[in-house]
Symmetry: C2
Subunit: 408 residues, 2 copies
């Protein structure tokens, strides 16, 4: 008898038919004799409706009250899923995040899980129940309802799997697993059987929409092996796990495309110590997420100056420009240039550590396709380039073809 | 500085405009320096939508899961009302029933409040907040979410007013208060300035739709004086309180009409001891609410038999008939007659105890209007009659005219 944690996201429970479908899948596992804990998100449209109601009342709603409001979304799903399991003659009970013992810090809207007291969940499993837990939510030390922010339900599932020492953690989504690249962009994309936490983290933070990187980071920290798979078929998914030696044989694990970033360049920033620190701490104070940062050598002799570029999420661009303008009183830069029409393409793989020439192959491939590279940033296991937005998909295809040649 | 508990029902918070309206009203009181605890119901249509979702999944949903589901309704309202108060620059925090310390028994769907631990509410009031509490819900001893059943939010407000020793408890609704009869039926109906708990209980259980009688019974038990008033204007409402001597000067407090009952008659039931007990305990086991019961003298000599009639809520009629059919094996009655086309009209007033002739006046009034009386039932402070459904409104008008003559 195994203990399995399954997580179903918003698209898997978006209406009552999908909820019944989830119930059938849970029942198949349960009837094999396994103990099942199910973590669910809010129904697709429900959250949007709650946000609309809030915006009708207050343009800047308190985060405490937004958490109180949004937590009703998962609470609705858990009750409905329990009813659906009852219809299949299975014993099932639902628990809100606080009831399931998911304790967080006090930071509303993006709380961190501090610990889980799984006593209630264990008791209910022992009574023969499928236990359904509301994802995305928890309780602060003083009893307030908190939410975990984007990707929170994945986090709930992985944290529960860790606390319960589950035998298996399955993250159900609307795709079959993790692909070498987005199958909507490159039809020849291949599903990966396995991927390391680090590769998954890079792919997640680089725009692959399967999972938020924080959940994978959590899984890595507590060494929770999990499977990403589809709630719409029975195909095996992708196992995400600790790195093994054999993984390094595969040089490139995947190619990702992120069309949701914008680029900002400060032109002719005085090249004196502390400039970068001043700029990026101001952006951090403004809660602006900065991804790539590029600074090159300085020019000029009397007053040496350099150009500093960074990328940020498109929705944050205006805020970022405002912060930068606010710095003018203290930093004398020539001008600010911003560009929303960019795409970031990344090549990821732990094998890069031991294989050389990957960067060169990336640049050669793009050159052969006459695609201009605007920015380059690398880490130990990834190479990212910024190109024109309209070239993003072509660049992704060409890099995928280069690293994953089709076998004849 | 007074401590005021205000309760706003579903129609007062049915959309975001109404919620903003409630916030303005709360703000007016708060700005006078009073401490305010607000109890709210779910938004009108929200509950219907949740019930529809549940019915799509399971025709007989578990009561535990229905409570989990329905509790999201009030949770949505409390968060939105807090946001609306923030928009008016007031400090406000929301609390679910469990967070507010409302402890109930374990009976889902119609839990009873066992006690209230108001520490959290006090703390938040002391910090200068308007405290918004979700009505209708509480927590069982083992941590499950329970709901209090019909009229539950009124009960929450009155129980909180009692636990907090509030100076004032206001039940806001969409009518100006308690009337001598339903103003939709009798346009000359007059609003009452005050009414005793017992009169209010009788009127409530007799079909006056202002409040459920259990909330008034609770208020009577803990001697919580409260005011029923409109959330749509500033008219003073009706004070519901303990009986005073001067109340007996008013012989009749109100006339109520209940068109939601059905009548069942068991014809020629053997007139032997224990028959009524057998019949009505079977109905009680079937959870069928019985209101009026009438049994008259028996006829026949060899095997004396009598007719027993009772009324029940129309939706319970089929269930009641099924229970009665089930009794055939043990009780030999001739036949069962049922009638859905009835109306119950009641005249209520504590003054009846000291004034005679009220029953006679009721019967004379109906006789003058050529309205046939099918059943009669009386208590110390009320007289109820059953008439044909289509005569119900006319009977109500005529009795109102008789007991509340228009002053010229």
């Amino acid at each position: 008898m195994a203990l399995i944690v399954q997580k179903y996201g918003g698209s898997s429970v978006k209406d009552t038919d999908r909820i019944k479908n989830v119930a059938k899948r849970v029942a198949e596992y349960r009837q094999k004799g396994d103990q099942i804990v199910v973590v669910v998100s809010a129904m697709g449209g429900g959250t949007d409706n709650l946000i609309r109601l809030a915006s009708e009342i207050n343009q800047v709603p308190s985060e405490r009250e937004m958490d109180m409001l949004l937590a009703t979304g998962e609470q609705t799903t858990i009750a409905l899923l329990a009813m659906a399991l009852h219809s299949l003659d299975l014993e099932a009970v639902s628990l809100t995040g606080p009831q399931a013992g998911i304790m967080t810090d006090e930071v509303h809207a993006k709380a961190k899980i501090k610990n889980i007291s799984p006593k209630q969940v264990y008791n209910m499993l022992d009574e023969g129940n499928v236990v359904i837990v509301a994802g995305f939510q928890g309780m602060s030390p003083d009893g307030r309802i908190t939410t975990l922010g984007r990707g929170g339900s994945d986090l709930t599932a992985i944290a529960l799997a860790s606390a319960l020492e589950a035998d298996l953690c399955q993250i159900y989504t609307d795709v079959d697993g993790v692909y070498t690249t987005d199958p909507r962009v490159v039809s020849k994309a291949k599903k990966l059987d396995e991927i390391s936490y680090d590769e998954m983290i890079e792919l997640s933070s680089l725009g692959a929409r399967v999972m938020q990187s924080r959940s994978v980071e959590f899984a890595k920290k507590y060494n929770v092996r999990f499977e990403v798979r589809s709630s719409l078929n029975n195909n095996p998914g992708t196992i995400v796990k600790e790195e093994t030696d054999s993984m390094e044989d595969v040089v490139v694990r995947g190619v990702s495309l992120d069309e949701n970033q914008a680029k900002v360049t400060l032109v002719r920033v005085p090249d004196t110590p502390g400039m970068a620190a001043r700029i990026f701490s101001a952006l951090a104070v403004g809660a602006i997420n900065v991804d790539m940062i590029v600074q090159n050598i300085s020019h000029g002799s009397a007053t040496p100056a350099t150009d500093i570029s960074f990328t940020t999420d498109k929705p944050d661009l205006l805020k970022a420009l405002k912060v930068i303008e606010g710095l003018r009183k203290e930093i004398e830069f020539a001008e600010v240039i911003s560009d929303e029409d960019i795409a970031k393409v990344s090549v990821v793989g732990v094998g890069m550590r031991t294989h050389s020439g990957i960067a060169a192959k990336v640049f050669e491939t793009l050159a052969a396709g006459r695609i201009n590279i605007e920015m380059i940033s690398t880490s130990e296991i990834k190479i990212s380039v910024v190109v024109e937005l309209e070239k993003g998909k072509t660049a992704t295809q060409q890099l995928h073809d280069a690293f994953f040649p089709v076998e004849n």
